[in-house]
Amino acid sequence: MTGNSKRVVSISLALLLLCMGASVEMSRKLEAERSGAELQDVMYLPSARSVKALSLGYNGLLADLYWTRVVQYFGSHHHAHTTQYKLLAPLLDITTELDPQLITAYEFGSIFLAQAPPEGAGDPRAAAKLVEKGIERNPTAWRLYYHLGYIQWMELHDSKLASESFQKGSEIPGALPWMKVMAAALAQHAGEYRTATYLWANILNSTTDKYIRDNAEKRLRALKCDEEVRLLQEYITKFTDATGHPPTSWDEMLATGWIKRVPVDPVGKAFKLMNGRVQVADPEKLPFITRGLPPGKESNVLPKLPKQGETRSE
């Protein structure tokens, strides 16, 4: 190598290193500039249909990329304690349009959408809509009914609708038994006694599992007890209206012919009458009642539900 060419090589090498360093620095500056823009959620989002049309049939991979983008978007916003998740619903829409069978996106996406800020977007209606879309495209995925029921119950506070969703999901082959249990329990919680009784009787007759049968029997006893308390309370109201004062004991109502015998609960113990209010004698024996409970004691009519996202492993 001549002296001249050595000099050219040295200069080129120096230039190369200089340019590399400068490009890294520029790249860092650009990244900082871009992150500011992203915080405002102003990235361009194409429509779900156009993304699918442009995918050349490789929509599975694109769906996975979009789902990863959803996870990253949610994670970064959650980490930053943001309360705005503007792009979450459209990103989920694109993901599920690209791959309508991507159950994971419906399941976790609905959790991200439903949870109140800063834990999520706080949009349970959009979450329910996403799961309904998933059910429409995957009618045999019983877990989606569970997610829908969960959102309707916990976020939209509609136990009746939630009960219907759990019931529909429980009818799909392969659904786990607690779906039926949830449907019945939520119907009971919603005050739908006839539906609840029908569902619990169905559970009792359709299973040989000792635990589930035992639970169904307790639930049916509780429903019967609730109904008796409701009727007794009606008699007491009528008695009070007629006499101008609430009854002080069952004997007073017996003597005046309002009742024919001292009423007993489904476990055979006489109901208590406390200041015009009917109470069960031993609430521990009737664990799922919603009426006739002593003051301060809360009903535990709803069973503990598996957390969202935990049903996959079952």
Binding site: A53, L56, G57, Y58, N59, G60, L61, A63, D64, W67, T68, V71, Q72, D99, Q101, L102, T104, E107, F108, R312
Partner: protein, 258 residues
Amino acid sequence: MRRIMVIATNTFREAVRDRVLYNLVVFAVVMIGASLLVGRASIGIERLALVNLGLTSISLFGILISIFLGIGLVYKEMDKRTLYTVLAARPVRRWEFITGKWAGLVMTLVVNAAMMSVALFAGLLYVSGKLTSADWGVVAAIYLILLQYVLMTSLALLFSTFSTPLMSSLFAFSLFVIGSYAGDLRRFANLASGFTRVVAYGMSYAVPNFAALNMILPAAHAVPISTKLVLLDSVYVFVYAGVCLSASILIFERRNLK
């Protein structure tokens, strides 16, 4: 037959010399990266993403190789004037030359796909811990991708017989894009009327139906791919390839090579 095999083998060797199989290194890196990273970057799609990524890469790598090698199969030989040596000095007929070139490129692509498949299954084994019967769907999807290669190679070779590499690659890639929407074209024809309907129907059957050969998503979701579909696809591709090869031979036979 022996002469066709000799040309096919030489075409395969030439492709290997052209470092075509280097794409396998890229594929292996993609597979290893995906296996390790998807679980960390996303939720609940480890196997799904690996199958989607693997099959899409196998498909796209192969399609690109078949276009870029296919378009030069005949043109390059003519340009370098090696074709005259083969056809004049050896007892090789023109149709044998075309068929041999086609078989050689298909062979290259099959070897390439087989190696990528091994890498994909290794990734699946790493992610899932075991291979299950659901993975047969992946094998079926790979077979359908091989049919895509056959189709693409036939088209590229056809264009190579009468056009320049640049125009050939443009034609071949355009047909791949249009063929990916063959189903949509047919749906459009159903909605149209009159002359538009006739043209749209005609086009939807004339373009290669690449959409029918893409079963990546069902394979990723472990949805069984019916044997009937695989058989119909196979017959379709070999009939279509037959059309392309026949047309290539017809054109090549009439070409003045001097």
